[in-house]
């Protein structure tokens, strides 16, 4: 039995340097800050391992986006990626 620690739970990320996921270019590495979409879709995203605090690689960015999340490939529609706030952590050269 382990006690879980919730690293992102009470921290309020600074608004600086955050942007919409939809504005990120292919090759960027980002951390998810906030998922703002209908409850159903947020619930599905989180079950797929796409939740607040998750590191995500942007593989392809057109109107829908192709992302690497926890080793899996997720395709997300444009309406979703516009509502997801992320913090870029690195850009691939």
């Amino acid at each position: 039995m382990s006690h879980v620690s919730l690293p992102t739970l009470h921290s309020t990320e600074s608004a600086a340097r955050t942007c919409a996921l939809s504005s990120c270019r292919a090759g960027t590495r980002v951390t998810v800050v906030d998922i703002e979409c209908s409850g159903d879709e947020a619930c599905r995203l989180r079950a797929l391992g796409f939740c607040e605090g998750t590191s995500v690689n942007v593989i392809d960015a057109r109107d829908s986006m192709l992302l690497e999340v926890r080793g899996t490939r997720l395709a997300l529609g444009a309406a979703l990626t516009a509502g997801i706030t992320v913090q870029p952590t690195a850009a691939r050269a």
Binding site: L9, G39, E41, R46, S64
Partner: protein, 720 residues
């Protein structure tokens, strides 16, 4: 209805009665090889797919345990979590919480985990472990994980999860015996429970919700799981409405948590993934880190903005051309075989009605349909290949943009592509679509995708009336006409879906959430099994529905007997008999409805007869023209030679043939599709209403389009 779990939880810990059946439910994320494992365990074969959620039917199988005990296995639909987002996941949740209508209560739950995607897969496993039912974890595709340099400490993982963990490679049948033993042993071990402790304030806030669920008879562990899970669920799940006070308690708990600085909707995923990170940290070692995987390299080309759609179109063109040309030698072979058989049998029967029944009814009717088996097999092989390799999800991704214009998202394209093979699995594949309106709109248009049952009609008419002129290397005018019919159906399906989404099924465009599974070499065996299953289904239809209809139609064409002048040529005699027969009279009654389309009563009868199944059109024509033990080529020949006795002109022109094909592109002539639409559109009155709308709009579309082709073509001078 919900008084579920207390009793079953007791049942789970109690030893099974000797000779009793152990019931195992299999659950796992899509693409974990869950269905392959199910097949390997039970030996019962079914379709295995690689795109999200191919397992849409309820499939049960059984095997004998190590000590001869009977073990029944239920393959649950692929699910990412227990928070049901799609009808598929709802089915899985209902079975696991013992709320499904059949009351199928699992004694053991087998969670299948993809070892190469452990992190994501442990989310569902974590939820299932808390259900208060014995659990066994199959760590599948362990070979793939090892190849990727991921090594997993299995005993440690088993310790962390508190359940037996068995490494397996389902597609090679590895690890099955230990897995079977583990399943049988699971009931004798202590029940698994939550593997982490919630922060005290969270536990306090959730306590009233748990109390509520406990009063309903849920296992204490399951109540804890549900309380945490319901915080993130916005939709009204059935038990939220049925359990007294539950909804209010969930709202109150969420309020309390917000006051304490938590975000209730994210709480479950944060806590579970924090626990998962912990488990993964202790059990997984990565020896190498592949930076760009094989799948990514393929995707760079296949999903390319320019090349992607081109490759997709090229693939489709190859498929349809292959269906038309590769099948030809096989079809000729079957024709010769049926012809020889029919001739040999008919020779032994004295001249008369019995001989006519065998020649015209059996060999003419059923035989003319059997000829198309190779084409159907090739088409299914291609569609299955697209599914198994992982390309299907890529096609959905490529089509998302087009589908969004329509008002649906890319995922709706997967059932539509399956519809090329058969509308029935296509309609069932819509279960992975979460939004009910999107789902209905997709169901309504899936039958517009030209299915394999239309192939015999297209092939007959194209073969008879379209010359095999070469257009491009490898593409003939015949192949192009076939492609044109498929395109017509596809484009119309998109347009009609757009109309539905703007009228009867108005709603916002839901954004796409789609997992692209890694590309895999499909196993030849499972490919063959899938194709064989479809062929068997077709053969069964030929042996039952089509056989029965052929006999009925033969009888209708033969009786009552006309008193014909024996001095007339045989052809004329036959013609007079046909017109005098019951079938002829029915045809004459139908004729006014099809006359504007350029059809005579013979086509009218064949269309009417094929409302049960489209292939019957060909067998009816076969019966009418008495091609008996001969073959499809003979039928084409007769169609081309048919002359209108009044005008002396050819009765079937290429224009009539094209119009007829267009009619078949649009008309919903398939009892099975109507039945599956009734069920999937909601069943009962609602289901029938939607099935009625579907049938009516497609028939109207068919008639109008065929009329436009015929009347328009004539006006433009293509009448000849």
């Amino acid at each position: 209805m919900t008084a579920p779990t207390a009793e079953s939880a007791k049942g789970a810990t109690a030893p099974l009665p000797p000779g009793g059946t152990l019931r195992v439910a299999i659950i796992g994320n899509p693409n974990t090889g869950k269905t392959t494992l199910f097949n390997a365990l039970t030996g019962l074969r079914q379709r295995v797919g690689n795109f999200a959620g191919v397992t849409v039917e309820r499939v049960e199988g059984a095997f004998k345990g190590p000590d001869g005990q009977r073990v029944a296995v239920l393959d649950l639909p692929g699910s990412y979590s227990l928070s049901a987002g799609s009808p598929d996941e709802q089915i899985a949740l209902d079975v696991l919480l013992q709320r499904d209508s059949d009351r199928w209560r699992p004694d053991v739950v087998l969670v299948v985990i993809d070892a190469s995607h452990l992190e994501r897969n442990l989310f569902l496993a974590g939820q299932v472990i808390e259900l208060g039912v014995p659990v066994v974890v199959a760590l599948n595709q362990i070979d793939v994980a090892n190849e990727q340099g991921i090594s997993i400490d299995v005993p440690e993982l088993s310790h962390e999860l508190g359940v037996q963990v068995i490494p397996t490679v389902a597609k090679r049948g590895e690890g099955l015996d230990p897995l079977k033993s583990a399943l049988v042993r699971a009931g004798t071990l202590p029940l698994p429970e939550r593997r982490f402790r919630l922060p005290a304030d969270v536990q306090r806030a959730l306590a009233p919700v748990e109390q509520c669920l406990l009063r309903e008879g849920l296992h204490p562990s399951a109540a804890g799981m549900e309380a945490l899970r319901l915080l993130g669920v916005q939709r009204t799940e059935p038990h939220l409405a049925q359990v007294p006070d539950l909804r209010d308690e969930v709202v109150a708990a969420a309020e309390k948590l917000r006051g304490a600085g938590y975000t209730p909707a994210r709480l479950e995923s944060e806590i579970r993934y924090a626990w998962i990170a912990d488990v993964v940290g202790r059990t997984v070692t990565r020896t190498s880190h592949e930076s760009v995987s094989f799948s990514d390299r393929v995707d760079r080309v296949v999903l390319h903005r320019v090349w992607g759609p081109l490759i997709f179109l090229l693939l489709m063109a190859v498929v349809f051309q292959a269906v038309f040309t590769w099948a030809a030698p096989l079809m000729d072979g079957i024709e010769v075989l049926i012809g020889a058989l029919g001739g040999a049998v008919a020779e032994r029967i004295p001249e008369g009605d019995l001989r006519s029944l065998v020649e015209g009814g059996l060999f003419g009717g059923v035989g003319s349909v059997l000829v198309f088996l190779p084409q159907i097999a090739i088409l299914f092989a291609f569609i299955t290949l697209l599914e198994h390799s992982g390309y299907m999800a890529r096609a959905a991704f490529l089509m998302d943009r087009v589908m969004r214009r329509v008002g649906l998202h890319g995922k709706s394209f997967i059932p539509m592509l399956s519809g090329y093979a058969c509308a029935v699995p296509g309609v069932m594949a819509t279960r992975t679509i979460e939004d009910p309106k999107d789902r209905l709109a997709t169901i309504m248009v899936v039958p517009l995708m030209s299915c394999s049952a239309r192939l015999p009609v297209y092939t007959l008419l194209i073969g008879a009336f379209v010359p095999a002129t070469a257009l491009l290397p490898g593409l003939t005018l015949q192949g192009a006409t076939m492609l044109g019919m498929y395109l017509l159906g596809t484009v119309t399906a998109l347009l009609v879906a757009a109309v539905f989404k703007r009228t009867l099924l108005k709603g916002p465009v839901r954004p796409m959430i789609l997992e692209l599974p890694p590309y895999r070499w499909p196993s030849l065996w499972s490919l063959l099994v899938s194709v064989w299953q479809r062929c068997a289904l077709f053969l069964r239809r030929a042996g039952t529905v089509i056989l029965a209809l052929s006999i009925v139609l033969w009888a209708m064409a033969t009786y009552p007997k006309a008193s014909v002048d024996a001095s007339l040529p045989e052809e004329v005699q036959a013609e007079q008999q046909l017109e005098y027969s019951l079938l002829g009279r029915v045809g004459k009654a139908i004729e006014p409805a099809v006359r504007p389309l350029g059809y005579d009563w013979k086509i009218g009868v064949s269309i009417a007869a094929s409302f049960a199944a489209r292939e019957v059109f060909v067998s009816t024509m076969g019966t009418i023209y008495g091609v008996g033990g001969e073959n499809e080529a003979a039928l084409s020949e007769k169609l081309r030679a048919e002359v209108d006795p009044n005008t002396g002109q050819r009765r079937y022109t290429p224009l009539v043939a094209i119009g007829l094909m267009v009619f078949y592109v649009y008309a919903l002539m398939c009892i099975s599709t109507v039945a599956v639409t009734v069920r999937e559109a909601g069943g009962g009155g609602v289901g029938w209403r939607w099935a009625g709308i579907q049938f009516a709009y497609m028939l109207a579309l068919a008639w109008v389009a065929a009329w436009l082709v015929y009347a328009g073509g004539r006006a433009l001078g293509f009448g000849g």
